[in-house]
């Protein structure tokens, strides 16, 4: 894992998520893809568990930072939890084909988004609830994710290793 490259990628993704993502919004609900979540799924299925845990939590932290106006924490926990779980799952089920990647992104986006909303509620924060927007984001991310995976593969040049060994 090339950590400086990851840091640059993280900054770019956080910046795009914070300001630029609205320009590719679709429908009346202003549905946008979640770039940080796509990156989280990418690192969870391409790296080993140790790296996956770090990248998942760091990307969650970036997602919380990018969502200015709300308290931090929900995305760190949800991204970290699902990134780690996905990394362990990847030891058993290989996620390499494009449809599998798309389905994984869709499911993780739905679950992470719902968990983040739930955690925010538990912590007494108010976030706009909208299953339609969450579903839209999940679908959009699932469609865009496999394309971005190709770009990330080329940028990160992660050597795929046998899972479960460090």
């Amino acid at each position: 894992m090339n950590w400086p490259r990851f840091a640059v990628l993280l900054l770019i993704a956080a910046f795009l998520q914070a300001r630029w993502i609205d320009t590719i919004a679709v429908t009346n609900l202003r549905v946008t893809p979640d770039l940080l979540l796509i990156a989280m799924v990418f690192f969870a299925v391409r790296c080993n568990e140790f790296e996956a845990i770090i990248t998942s939590f760091v990307l969650g932290f970036a997602a919380d930072i990018a969502a200015s106006g709300f308290s931090m924490g929900p995305f760190i926990i949800s991204f970290g939890l699902f990134g780690t779980a996905l990394s362990y799952l990847h030891r058993i089920v290989s996620i390499k084909k494009v449809p599998h990647e798309a389905i994984t992104i869709f499911v993780v986006a739905l679950a992470a988004g719902y968990l983040a909303w739930l955690l925010a509620r538990i912590a007494g924060q108010s976030r706009p609830a909208g299953f339609g927007a969450l579903l839209g984001t999940s679908i959009y991310s699932a469609v865009l994710g496999p394309v971005l995976f190709l770009l990330l593969d080329w940028l990160m040049r992660i050597k795929t290793r046998r899972r479960g060994r460090r």
């Binding site: 300001r19 200015s68 931090m72 760190i76 970290g80 780690t84 955690l119």
Partner: protein, 283 residues
Amino acid sequence: MARKRIRITSRMLFAWFMLAGLILLFSPLAVTSRLQFAFARFFHRPLSAARHVPLSAKTELPLKDDFSRKESQYQNYIANLEEELRQKNQAIQQLSGVRTRLRGLEGAKLVPADIIISPASGQRSEFIINRGKDDGVCKDMFVIGDNSVIGTISDLYPRTAKVRLFTDSASVAQVNMPDVEINMLMQGNGNNTAKIKMVPAKHQIKIGSPVMLRKKPGYMDSAMIVGEVQQCKRDSKNPALWDITVKPSCDITKLNNVAVIIMNPQSSGNLNRAENTKTSGGK
């Protein structure tokens, strides 16, 4: 020296990160927002630049629909305002015309009003206007229409008022005529005419002579036309007196709007208060 190497396991790392996440989750917003502000400050220039960079994939259609709907709403609102303005201008022109023609109304406030219930046929000749106590209108104020006095305010409500015409059988007004130097009392007949009695036959009354309402300080500072002599004949009971029939100067049935004369606009509130005091005193 041998250094003890700390081995960090995946589980330990996960636990630390989860702990950090939970601490952040339950931290006050004021604390965590500093991190967000730091991010915004760090990326201030690229973030502000990004706002002005359009992408071709941006969907304009929903926004356009929204804008067109809003635009339509605003256009309707503007049309309503323009129509209201036109009506106000019309009212102002009418009232300023009245002022120019009638010197006695200089300094008086004319409250334009629309007739919302037309005069009823029968003995009583009254109608309702869409101005009331809230507009500064008081009881017994004079009402003009087509540059002549047509009646007085008989009943008052917050947003409406009842106007009693001079032709109403319950209406009595002090009038005079230019050629006759005596004060006369005019009483309504109920059939769109009024009667003037008790005028000695020694005075010469001409058919068509104007009948002027006498000035009433506080309510009207100069005489104004109220009607004209329609018929003049000897009183059947006392031939030494005239029985004069007066026809109103304006056709009430064709009247759509009138104006209420408020001679002392500043003290109209005082009049209201005085009236209320009188009423409560009477009780």
